[in-house]
């Protein structure tokens, strides 16, 4: 009989660290990764040799980037696994680090996400299966089509979908680790460079680099290492799924999000309306609209109304993308899913400073990736 994560040994996030997400620079991936891991070790107040295994999420860096980074902390000989799962690489690394601790194989494990912008090559293009318009539909065009579909289905204005970007740039302007740290007006966002359909550049995630590190530990590990248990955040649920055949063939990310989130809610024993904060895959504005509805945070076709009411603002009913999300904080691919865990842990501890959402007890992290794959984690204080 298979079991959910929560029926195994409890797992806690005990250390978090980031390297700022930024446009391509001369910073090496070694520096990016080391900065995040050293910050996470300092946050947990533990030494590197206490970490028993490492999961390294990356999608663009070439094979085996983990040890070239981690050796500079002192090569302790721990097992290192590289995880590639498209945009969800960091989320997958986190899930498997949690599973290893929960299973009892380790007491303390690291999940590190690191990437630099590089040529993207997709295996689907090598499948031998042709496509009518494969060279014409970039990811932003896929989401421009979904934005048109949503606007047509619910009779909303494209300008209203762009309000997601106003909120997320405002949140990101308060995040020192965000790639974009500038508040933007709706006019600035709509008046920006046109990409596809009604999507403009500030409604799309920037391409960039960065790193995010999360250290997870068991109760035994926390006690043995003297980690401050009052700052530890429980991993209440972990779910991962991949796309099935469904009738809503173009909205596969939303369908998959609904299915994966339902598993996580069931495992965590909580309802979507109980969430205080959500970090989701808002690479393009319409995604946030689709996913808050798919997860049941609001009803179908209601996301624009709730957004206009301020329900998804920091201080609203449920803060969505308080970090700035992918649109403002950025999406360096490998780190992104782990950066979400960092933000949620910070918010649950009450350490998010000017972007702190009040009385945060439950947070959800969501990523989709090309494939499609989907991960949902629920964290609680």
């Amino acid at each position: 009989m298979s079991k959910p994560l929560k029926d195994l040994r409890p797992v806690y996030v005990v250390g978090i660290g980031l390297h700022r997400y930024q446009f391509l620079s001369n910073t090496t991936y070694i520096d990016l990764g080391l900065t995040a891991v050293r910050a996470a070790l300092a946050d947990a107040n533990i030494e590197w040799p206490t970490v028993e295994s490492a999961y390294v999420g990356r999608a663009l860096l070439p094979m085996a980037c983990g040890r070239p980074i981690l050796r500079h902390l002192g090569a302790t000989g721990i097992p290192i696994v590289h995880v590639e799962n498209a945009s969800a690489s960091g989320s997958a690394a986190f899930r498997h680090a949690c599973i290893e601790v929960a299973s009892g194989l380790t007491e303390v494990s690291l999940a590190l996400g690191v990437d630099k912008p590089m040529m993207i090559a997709r295996s689907e293009g090598l499948s031998g299966i042709g496509n009518l318009a494969d060279d014409a539909i970039a990811p932003f065009t896929h989401f421009a089509l979904l934005a048109d579909q949503y606007a047509s289905q619910y009779h909303v204005r494209h300008e209203d979908i762009a309000l997601v970007a106003v909120k997320n740039h405002r949140n990101g302007s308060k995040n020192p680790f965000a790639q974009h740290q500038k508040e933007r007006t709706l006019d600035e966002i709509l008046g920006g460079k046109k990409i596809a359909g009604t999507l403009t550049s500030l409604q799309c995630t920037p391409v960039g680099e960065g790193a995010a590190a999360v250290i997870v530990a068991s109760e035994g590990g926390i006690k043995r290492l003297g980690i401050d248990a009052s700052r530890a955040v429980r991993v209440a649920a972990s779910a991962g799924r991949s796309q099935k055949v469904n009738t809503d063939a173009t909205r596969y990310d939303a369908v998959l999000t609904k299915e994966t989130a339902e598993i996580a809610f069931r495992e965590g024993g909580i309802s979507p309306r109980e969430l205080d904060i959500v970090e989701l895959h808002d690479a393009f504005t319409v995604e946030e609209i689709e996913y808050v509805e798919a997860m049941g945070i609001c009803g179908d076709g209601e996301a624009i109304l709730r957004l206009k009411d301020g329900e998804f603002d920091i201080g609203g009913r449920c803060a969505v993308s308080p970090s700035g999300g992918l649109i403002s904080m950025g999406h360096p691919i490998g780190p992104t899913g782990l950066g979400q865990i960092v933000e949620i842990a910070r918010q649950l501890r009450g350490e998010a400073g000017p972007r702190q959402h009040p009385n945060t007890r439950t947070g959800l992290a969501h990523m989709v990736g090309v494939g499609a794959v989907c991960y949902v984690h629920i964290l609680q204080k």
């Binding site: 009518l132 014409a136 896929h142 579909q149 047509s152």
Partner: protein
Amino acid sequence: MSSPTLLKPTLYRAQGSEDDPHHPALLGGACECGYVFFPLRSYGCERCGRVGLEPRALSGRGKLIASARVHLHGGKTRQAPFTVGSVTLDDGPIVRTLIAGDDVALPGDRMVTTLVPVTDAEGAERLDLRFTPQR
């Protein structure tokens, strides 16, 4: 001079389907389980895993779900702007496709296939499939 050949002859043909002889057919497939898909692939059925999938010519008719004018495009083979759309075929599958020329199509519009002249990577004239609103 012979007429131009098709750019992607594994995906469509000039001849129509049984249901719609007037518009180029899409070369899809069908499984015993009832799953109809595009394009044809022989690896196995995505729904049930069976092998031995049958080719099926799908009618070149459908309904537009969404469209987007592309203003920025990185590929070297195509110059922006151009328009793409999602079309639900009358035979079931949803396809992502190019919309012919500067045709304006709105969600809900009936769409049909058409072949348009294009220049391939070697500079030769070929015919490629587009969807266009049914007049």
